[in-house]
Amino acid sequence: MSGESRILEGYVSLPYRWAMGETTTRFFDELKNKKIMGTKCNKCNRVLIPARSFCSHCFDRIDEWVEVGQEGVLRTWCAVNFSYEGQPKEPPYIIAIVDLDGADVGLPHFVGNVSLDDFEDAAKKVRIGGRVKAVWKEMREGNILDIDYFEPVG
């Protein structure tokens, strides 16, 4: 035994084709028109976003479409300040859960239009329980990033 343990370097990169189904396809089409749509379960009366074809609690099929608000309450947030493979943007940036008006499920998204030069300063502007509103991209392609980010209001 030489006492040496060497490294073999390699890469695994695979293409995928993810089928959306009709409900997600329509949800994304509505985003192109600046509408955030949920589906309502008639058993538990929850409005689920993103729109789904069945209720996660009642297990019933659902197809009643409801538009939810473009504003809502910031449930929680944090400022991502680390890097990883496949990251959607350069850190630092803010991720958050937003409880949109009229929806019963919080939406994960970005909070933008807030300077991150100083996290403590940012924390004064981005407040849990505060109001935020959707800011749309000019060019919308029918995906979750058609909402560019949410920004604090008021």
Binding site: S5, I7, G10, V12, Y16, W18, M20, T24, L48, P50, S56, H57, R75, T76, W77, C78, A79, V80, N81, F82, Y84, E85, G86, Q87, P88, P92, I95, A96, I97, D99, V105, G106, L107, P108, H109, F110, F119, A122, A123, I128, G129, N143, I144, L145
Partner: protein, 390 residues
């Protein structure tokens, strides 16, 4: 329970950057130690349970096939269990089910990870669905910082106080890890250093966050009749198990008064006939990849009321010498080969209640709680382990 189950052998590897061995060699190290601990050999084992993180972590799909020889598993029933962070606890439960069912009397369970061989945060990014959650919830520190912030806000906890309690927990874990021969991060730190360390996901700092480690852990579980037949001197009895999952969408559930954590503990307490965990538990290995999250678990596990976890830290209840010392191994915060981490919690509690924990022994520990959390922040599992069946 159809058949009582005991942990009769544990084997852990030294954790850290283990470029000195291949993946199967790392597993062989843990498995041989588990056999040495109980004096059995692979031929004695009737079935093998194993698991790790999503295979993107090491770039080998269906790793249990790759590991088979290192587990002495050929010619035996073999199953893979994987639930992300909670994999190790899911493994312990799967192994327990095998024996409790009465179908097997001796089962080997192995969890492992080699996180230095891949891109851990990139791997974890693929756990979230590709349509809605992946861009936002990728990477563990982000998810847990969201949860911690919401927890502090829910109970109106002053930020300074929460950060100070978290820093004290970081110091406790780092201090205790120095006495654990298998721990990865062995660096003394101070409250001031934790508070001033680099922000990873504001407000969480690098010394509030676990590393990614290479490491493996193996346990051997036996039925009551096999414990008697073998004449095992100090078995660690599984007194209760509880496991709970949640909805696929992170924003759908309550992550503060966290149902999966609450129900996992409740289920395990019920089986173990524990009504006052703070009083009846002598030690707990709470899965704590993030200091803030450890406090949230204290509340969900009934160690204190909701919103009162900081007090347990401030009063030293969860420190060595306290009423309910937590993570005397140094915890996940200092050692995190994810597929093995939950199993390490079980191994450490088994060692504690059988007085085999060496320098990290909590004197007189008889009953302990082991825990792990995983999925996209949606799974929790608990196991109660005791020196006796009553």
């Amino acid at each position: 329970m159809a058949q009582a189950v005991a942990i009769i052998g544990t084997g852990q590897t030294e954790c850290g950057k283990r470029y000195d061995v291949s993946y199967p060699e790392l597993i062989y190290e843990a498995v041989t130690r588990a056999f040495d601990d109980c004096g059995l050999v692979p031929d004695d084992i009737e079935a093998v349970v194993s698991g790790s993180m999503p295979p993107a972590m090491e770039g080998v799909a269906n790793p249990h096939l790759y590991w088979a020889d290192a587990m002495g598993a050929s010619g035996k029933p073999m199953i893979r269990t994987a639930t992300c962070g909670s994999t190790g606890m899911s493994l312990a439960h799967t192994c327990f089910y095998h024996v409790a069912s009465g179908l097997f009397d001796l089962v080997l369970v192995v969890g492992a990870e080699k996180m230095y061989e891949g891109d851990p945060q990139g791997t974890m990014a693929t756990v979230a669905d590709p349509f809605f959650q992946r861009p936002f919830l990728a990477g563990a520190p982000g998810i847990f910082s969201l949860q911690s912030n919401e927890w502090a806000h829910r109970y109106g906890l002053e930020e300074k106080r929460v950060r100070m309690a978290a820093a004290q927990l970081s110091v406790r874990n780092h201090t205790d890890a120095m006495l654990n021969p298998y721990a990865h991060i062995k660096v003394k730190t101070t409250v001031e250093e934790v508070l001033a360390s680099r922000v990873v996901a504001y407000p969480v700092r690098i010394l509030d966050v676990c590393p990614g480690s290479d490491g493996a852990c193996a346990l051997i579980m036996a039925s009551e009749r096999m414990v008697k037949k073998l004449g095992v001197k100090r078995p660690a009895w599984v007194r209760g198990v509880g496991y709970c999952g949640e909805e696929a969408f992170f924003g759908e559930g309550d992550k503060v008064a966290w149902p999966s954590a609450i129900n996992a503990a409740k289920g395990a307490y019920k089986q173990a006939a524990i009504s006052n965990p703070r009083k009846e538990l002598d030690v707990a290995e709470v899965y704590n990849p993030f200091t803030f999250q450890e406090m949230l678990f204290y509340e969900c596990f009934g160690f204190c009321d909701f919103g009162e976890a900081c007090q347990l830290v401030e009063e030293g209840v969860v420190m060595k010498g306290g009423d309910l010392p937590c993570d005397p191994s140094g915890g996940t915060l200092c050692t995190n080969p994810i597929g093995a981490t939950g199993l390490q919690r079980v191994a450490e509690v088994a060692l504690q209640v059988t007085e085999k924990a060496g320098e990290r022994q909590i004197p007189g520990a008889k009953t302990g709680l082991a825990h792990a959390m995983g999925g996209l922040d949606q799974f929790n599992g608990v196991m109660i382990i005791s020196d006796s069946l009553q």
